[in-house]
């Protein structure tokens, strides 16, 4: 592997898992949303 590859891989590996985590989290929120009332969401 070239020098530059290491750097690009580092950057991609830093942001990709975060994006995946955020996406999974949002999906879970949408799944749970129909099961709760508005009173369960004090932030809304």
């Amino acid at each position: 592997m070239k020098h530059a590859d290491f750097i690009v891989i580092s950057w991609v590996l830093s942001f990709l898992p975060i994006a995946f985590y955020a996406w999974r989290n949002a999906r879970r929120a949408r799944q749970l949303d129909p099961l709760v009332e508005k009173s369960d969401k004090p932030w809304t």
Partner: protein, 250 residues
């Protein structure tokens, strides 16, 4: 932002998280431009210093997350109300911390391969980081043990406080351990580099961007955990209602 997302916003979104998310995305783009293109190469490390602009911020955020977990846990234990929200904040923060610590390890070993010629070195900082990673994986396992929500909160709060006490102990003992095995005079950059103005700015900017990402993730995750708890409580209420209904002769 895609159409699907704007049409159905996630139920955990508020104006705050939306703005934080936008700042995070914009900041990441600017950081990438700065780190990958605009900054100069380091005198000693060459271009491998570019890994630092993501490596140092993720490490910083991971430590921040673990300290935040401890603060929330202490707040939970001290508070008269024993606020479950503080417990969920602690849990969300630890989860994000574990992810960031994992990223730190990956980028750190990639950096090590470039600078040291090896993916792994028994460097005190690296070793401490691995211990922290495993310790907080254990903390998350404790959160999943079951029981009532208050039981979970109390149990994990104490484990979190123990874990945060371990950070200095482990680091200190690893430092002592390494000091006995000082290697001979090979030039080994340890990650501290001399930086010019723009490099230093990029690093600080990176820390700021990742801190915003942290806040954004924790807020969302905290709300999802609140939803999970709410669903659990509703499930219990429903079961109780069903039980009462059974007991009543019709």
């Amino acid at each position: 932002m895609s159409n699907a997302q704007t049409s159905v916003p996630p139920p955990t979104r508020t104006a705050t998280t939306r703005n934080l998310g936008l700042i995070a995305i914009l900041g990441s783009v600017v950081l990438a431009l700065l780190g990958l293109f605009f900054t100069a190469e380091d005198v000693v490390q060459g271009s491998s210093v570019r890994i630092m602009y993501v490596h140092v911020p993720t490490a910083w955020v991971a430590y921040l997350a673990f300290v935040f977990t401890a603060v929330c846990s202490a707040g939970y234990l001290r508070g008269k109300k024993h606020s479950l929200n503080l417990d969920r904040l602690a849990g969300a923060s630890a989860e994000v911390g574990v992810i960031f610590m994992g990223l730190t390890l990956v980028t750190g070993s990639l950096w090590g391969r470039l600078s040291w010629g090896t993916y792994w070195d028994w460097d005190p900082r690296l070793t401490t980081t691995v211990f922290l990673f495993v310790t907080y994986v254990g903390y998350l396992a404790v959160r999943g043990l079951g029981g009532t929500q208050q039981q979970r909160a109390k149990r994990s709060a104490i484990v979190a406080l123990f874990a945060v006490i371990e950070i200095p102990l482990v680091h200190f003992s690893v430092l002592l351990w390494r000091s006995l095995h000082q290697e001979a005079t090979v030039l080994r950059p340890n990650g501290d580099v001399r930086m010019d103005g723009l490099m230093l700015f990029s690093l600080v900017f990176g820390v700021a961007v990742f801190t915003v990402i942290f806040a954004w993730l924790v807020l969302h995750r905290n709300r999802v955990l609140a939803l999970v708890d709410a669903v659990e409580m509703r499930g219990i209420d429903a079961a109780l209602a069903a039980r009462h209904a059974e007991g009543v002769p019709t």
